[in-house]
């Protein structure tokens, strides 16, 4: 009899545990009181460590802060890289990833994505006057970053080039500066950031055809539609209220070094 009651208690506890696990991300986050966001820490101006404050700042941390504000919780930023961001999200170490991540269908098998919050295209960053287009890359070394979509795209677009993949984009840019690779390829806004991180931005130029479209979406845990709906609604609210434009202008507006005209419209559901 005692054994039976023990069994009952254990199974009850287990089912309770299962019930908690099914409660969903939003409840988890609210219970915890913090929204843990995976962001880049060396990707000017999307997410980088500010020289003065030593804090991670940027366009993407600001978007995370907006979402955390809507949830009424505090924000915690965790630095991620292109190759760690999906595993960290799968493990639940971060609640969302805002780290210049392209929404690719194959990534949709393992995580979910929000609607696009930044549309990017893949280009080449080269030393001024050297490479003009993809065709010039035949037989040359091109720098990229491990686990990125740009790495795959450039191999498809120019099979004759040799791709050397680094851990971060600043390392790839350093290799370009030293002449070890003839071009760095990734999304144009990242390339603009790299270009202006140099003392003489005029030595570098962004060239080439649009190698691929790279729409950025927020990475979310797989199969939690309430959470995804909430994030999508929040992004649309942000666009409709004009807060998106304010943030965009703060990082990419005409008064910044990284000026990219706001020429797109977020997908807004009626």
């Amino acid at each position: 009899m005692r054994k039976l009651s023990l069994l009952l208690i254990v199974s009850l506890l287990l089912s309770l545990g299962a019930g908690v696990a099914q409660a969903g991300k939003i409840d988890d986050i609210k219970a915890r009181g913090t929204l843990v966001c995976g962001v880049k820490d060396s990707q000017v101006p999307f997410g980088y460590v500010d020289e003065q404050t030593k804090q991670i700042v940027g366009f993407e941390p600001d978007i995370c802060a907006y979402i955390a504000g809507k949830l009424g919780v505090k924000i915690e930023l965790k630095p991620v890289t292109s190759s760690t961001r999906i595993p960290l999200l799968q493990q639940g170490s971060v609640d969302l990833v805002a780290a210049t991540m392209t929404h690719k269908l194959e990534r949709d098998d393992v995580i979910d994505f929000s609607i696009t919050y930044f549309p990017a295209v893949q280009k080449l960053l080269v030393k001024k006057g050297t490479v003009k287009a993809l065709a010039d890359l035949a037989g040359k070394k091109v720098g990229s970053v491990k686990g990125s979509t740009s790495e795959k795209n450039v191999k498809t677009a120019q099979p004759a080039c040799e791709v050397v993949s680094f851990e971060t984009y600043p390392e790839a840019f350093l290799a370009l500066k030293q002449g070890k690779v003839v071009a760095v390829t990734t999304d144009a806004p990242i390339l603009v950031g790299l270009k202006y991180s140099d003392e003489n931005p005029d030595n570098w130029e962004i060239v080439g055809e649009d190698i691929a479209a790279e729409p950025y979406g927020l990475g979310l845990a797989e199969n939690d539609s309430d959470y995804r709906d909430f994030i999508n609604k929040t992004l649309m609210e942000m666009w409709n209220s004009g807060d998106y434009k304010k943030l965009y202008d703060k990082w990419f507006g005409p008064n910044t070094k990284f000026y990219i005209p706001l020429e797109w419209k977020m997908e807004i559901w009626p």
């Binding site: 194959e106 098998d109 686990g147 993949s165 350093l174 290799a175 070890k180």
Partner: protein, 233 residues
């Protein structure tokens, strides 16, 4: 936990080929670094024992410097940090070559040779001093005495710790992925990035590393047993 295992995807076809390519690079970089670090380590040790003060200091400085800096730092140093010290025309030619691989070999060689030098020194010190004195007395030069009398005995003694160094080197070779050398770990990570099947990719690479290490360890032990210990000097 709703992870779908897919061993076939990772181990066959394009991704299987990637693992093999990575294995081939790991073997190449390890083999080259083992040979060079053994040579360099021997030279550094012999310098230490010459009793010529500046050479001794040089050897001591070399050992302590390269033993006490992290390997990743050395890899970045040889790859990124060496740039300002290379002459322009040479650089242009060099960077067209497989500079990533070369920098990896240099870093692994220099790092491991510092450890190997200390082990060879321990081996040499375990040979009674009188042997060196006797060989010098019978007319051999310092280098001849080292080459014909001391080193052959010392190497026999240090076979077990040398095996450990070689195994460390093989595993340390995974760090050259940081400068874009497409060795085994790099490939495993690429497969993870492309397929999201990190578990299978890293398990496969783990098994491969264990196999390489066991084969190397076994081969050296056999060589030691059936050759080194039978030779009469």
């Amino acid at each position: 936990m709703n992870y779908q295992f897919n061993w076939k995807l990772v181990l066959t076809g394009e991704y299987g080929q990637w693992l093999l390519d990575g294995l081939s690079v790991t073997l190449q970089i390890s083999a080259m670094s083992i040979v060079f670090s053994l040579l360099l380590g021997t030279i550094v040790t012999v310098l230490r024992l010459t009793r010529v003060k500046p050479l001794e200091w040089l050897s001591l400085a070399y050992t302590e410097f390269f033993r006490n800096t992290p390997l990743v730092v050395q890899i970045f140093f040889w790859y990124f940090g060496s740039d300002p010290f290379l002459p322009g025309f040479f650089k242009e030619w060099l960077y067209q070559q497989n500079i990533e691989f070369a920098a990896g070999v240099i870093a692994l060689t220099v790092y491991t040779s510092a450890f190997i030098a200390e082990e060879i020194r321990a081996g040499i010190l375990s040979i009674p001093k009188t042997q060196l004195e006797a060989s010098r007395a019978s007319g051999l030069s310092f280098l001849q005495a080292m080459g014909y009398v001391i080193l052959p005995q010392a190497f026999r003694i240090i076979v077990p710790p040398l095996i450990s160094q070689f195994l460390n080197l093989i595993k340390n070779s995974s760090m050259v992925m940081t400068i874009g050398v497409a060795e085994l770990t790099y490939m495993a990570r690429q497969i993870e990035a492309h397929t999201f099947h990190g578990f299978e990719a890293f398990t496969a690479s783990t098994v491969i590393y264990i196999c390489i290490s066991l084969v190397v360890s076994f081969a050296i032990t056999l060589y030691d047993k059936h050759f080194l210990r039978r030779v009469r000097y």
